[in-house]
């Protein structure tokens, strides 16, 4: 493979990985605190719409991203209210969230942007002086848009915070052994709620990444499974933010490769290539989950405190 093709492939892989990676990091925090949110797919969809809407109305993609973060936080809070406060089945609440966000994004889209299709102001790749001009590593590592670097910084920060800070320790305690955390004076439900809201925020940003940095428009139901791939990345990444980002890069690579394979082999039905990332998720999940020791033990189990609340 000549190096122009390789450079293009790797640069695209990084670019295509980040929407999944950002959402997956948020899900790591939520799951480490013990709350499963299968509604990531829906929140990303809402974020994708809000990102496009905010970017079009203000002319600034960052306004769209901020709006998507706020919408994602609100959706996370809704899941938190049901999963943590009301202690309903977390999977069912997450499924309801998917349906709700599918409705919200499509409904609001048809009332606003859908009436007069407009181009979405997009984030552009940065040019970091001489670094961006280096062969291969230049375009791959130093020519991405700002949100990519924000995502990598976030992964580093979260990995550090989970391991090295009291708050991180408390979050992990809420997910591993909520009764012990409770006995130690940690307000389990408050920590869990906060983490779900944080997870929702990142899912919103991950969705906005799709509409303002990757595809640069909004299409109804445009997330097409990336939210579930993000949840799979949490498993592959062993519930570690950096590991999760690495797993997302694997899917970015699969996506970038399948798009190229479609043009290299036009005689093969393109659908065969489109399914590759999904099949990769199934195969990887089957191989990795068998050794699943990193699963937070309190995951998806509501915690009922014995203390009078």
């Amino acid at each position: 493979m000549d190096y122009v093709v390789l450079t293009g492939l790797l640069a695209a892989a990084v670019r295509l990985a980040m929407s999944i990676g950002i959402a997956a990091m948020g899900e790591v925090i939520s799951q480490r605190a013990g709350v499963l949110n299968v509604g990531v797919e829906g929140i990303m969809l809402l974020g994708a719409f809000l990102g496009a809407f905010g970017a079009v109305t203000t002319g600034n993609p960052w306004a769209g991203i901020a709006l998507a973060a706020a919408g994602g936080a609100a959706a996370g809070a809704l899941h938190g209210f049901f999963a943590v406060k009301l202690k309903v089945d977390q999977i069912v609440s997450g499924i309801a969230l998917i349906i709700l966000c599918l409705g919200l994004s499509s409904f609001l889209y048809r009332l606003t942007l859908g009436k007069t299709p407009q181009s979405v102001p997009a984030l552009r790749g940065l040019h970091l002086g001489v670094l961006s001009d280096l062969p291969i590593v230049g375009p791959v590592l130093f020519g991405q848009n700002a949100l990519v670097y924000w995502g990598v910084a976030m992964a580093l920060f979260l990995t550090w915070a989970l391991r090295r800070t009291v708050m991180g320790l408390n979050i992990r305690a809420c997910g591993e052994n909520p009764a012990a955390a409770d006995a130690a004076g940690i307000n389990v439900d408050r920590y869990r709620f906060f983490c779900v809201v944080f997870g929702g925020t990142l899912a919103g940003v991950g969705g906005a990444y799709l509409s303002v940095a990757q595809i640069n428009s909004f299409v109804e139901n445009m997330v097409v499974g990336r939210g579930f791939i993000a949840i799979a990345c949490v498993v592959f990444g062993r519930w570690n933010p950096l590991g999760t980002l690495a797993a997302a890069f694997g899917f970015g690579l699969a996506e970038a490769a399948q798009i190229r394979l479609q043009t290299w082999y036009p005689e093969v039905p393109y659908q065969l290539f489109v399914v590759l990332p999904y099949l990769l998720a199934i195969v990887a999940l089957s191989l990795f989950f068998a050794r699943g020791a990193a699963l937070p033990r309190g995951l998806a189990k509501p915690y009922f405190s014995d203390r009078g609340a």
Binding site: F82, S93, I99, L104, Y278, L285, S286, F289, A300
Partner: protein, 340 residues
């Protein structure tokens, strides 16, 4: 588990009505007119109610499958993919069934069941063998099935002129009869009713139901009682996928006569809500299925008559599911994520 009646019922009902109304206002329409039209069209007109019944049929089939898997503690949210798989297998075999006379239609439906069952069993096997989370696997399978459909209607099963992205039409004797003149209600309704009773007996009156329930509540206790994890997981997913596949064959046979992109789209998630609202009881399943039919057909009427965007249907559905969750009326299912 503790009952979760944290919210008063009146507050829940008010929210369930108010939230969709808010979005109707946002669309610049009058909520009172909107609710009136939704209910009067679906319940007050023959054409509207007939469409509600037509929409409820696949929801009942897929919902039955969801009930079966759920009782074993498995979340099958791959109803859409299994539906497609069943329909593709049945339509693929249709040319060979056309000359079979009376036996053709039952064979067509059986092949639909088997197509969905194969996909379901694969998911069950992956979970039993590798502990793969079935929620993610079934969703991934949905997207794979969508691409399979996209391929076959442009490739091996394409209509004879090879111009349009749709399959050939199935022969007349493979089509389910219409039950009522002037409506689209087909004999699939009778099969659905039959299957409701069959699954009820299977789950609540037969040994299988006991096995699923025991396994769903405590896999450890089940293995102590000699109930094998692999056979229950694969078996329940096989049946679960089978009913979704049957839904696909029935939809083709009773309504569409051919495969197209996005045919019978979006039943999978709704069927989960339907099964939960029926508290996993097959006999209650038709009621929430009809309710979701009302939302779907009613939203279509809102779009046509008032210009309220159709996606309001998902907002209404989600609000109703959340309202049920808040009221504590949805039976808490065993947690689906297990390292096993």
């Amino acid at each position: 588990m503790k009952a979760n009646s944290a919210l008063p019922l009146t507050a829940i009902v008010v929210c369930a009505v108010a939230v969709p109304s808010l979005f109707v206002l946002l669309a610049g329409k009058n909520p009172v007119d909107t609710w009136f039209l939704l209910l009067s069209y679906t319940l007050g007109t023959r054409a509207g109610f007939a469409e509600v019944v037509v929409h409820a049929i696949p929801l009942i089939f897929i919902g039955l499958g969801v009930c079966i898997a759920f009782r074993a503690g498995i979340f099958n949210i791959g109803g859409d993919g299994q539906l497609i798989c069943g329909a593709v297998v049945a339509v693929g075999a249709a040319p060979y069934l056309a000359g079979m006379g009376q036996a053709g239609l039952p064979a067509f439906l059986l092949l639909g069941f088997l197509g969905g069952a194969a996909l379901g069993a694969l998911v069950g096997w992956l979970r039993a063998r590798f502990g793969s989370n079935e929620i993610i696997v079934t969703i991934m399978m949905n997207y794979v099935a969508l691409q399979l459909l996209a391929w076959v209607i442009r490739g091996p099963l394409q209509e004879p002129t090879h111009i349009f992205p749709r399959s050939y039409r199935i022969a007349g004797d493979l089509q389910l009869q219409l039950l009522f003149e002037g409506t689209r209600i087909h004999a699939g309704l009778l099969i659905a009713a039959l299957m409701v009773v069959f699954v009820y007996v299977l789950l609540l009156r037969a040994n299988l139901g006991f096995k699923l329930q025991t396994f769903g509540q405590s896999p450890g206790a089940a293995s102590y009682a000699g109930i094998g994890a692999t056979s229950v997981t694969v078996g329940s997913m096989l049946l679960s996928g089978g009913f979704a596949g049957l839904a696909g064959a029935v939809e083709v046979s009773g309504l569409y006569q051919k495969l197209e992109d996005n045919f019978a789209d979006g039943f999978g998630l709704a069927a989960i809500a339907v099964a939960l609202m029926a508290r996993l009881n097959p006999l209650l399943l038709p009621l929430p299925a009809l309710l979701f039919g009302i939302f779907y057909v009613g939203s279509g009427a809102l779009q046509r008559e008032l210009g309220v965007p159709f996606p309001i249907v998902w907002i209404v559905e989600a609000v109703v599911i959340l309202a049920f969750l808040a009221s504590g009326a949805v039976k808490a299912a065993p947690v689906g994520v297990k390292g096993s």
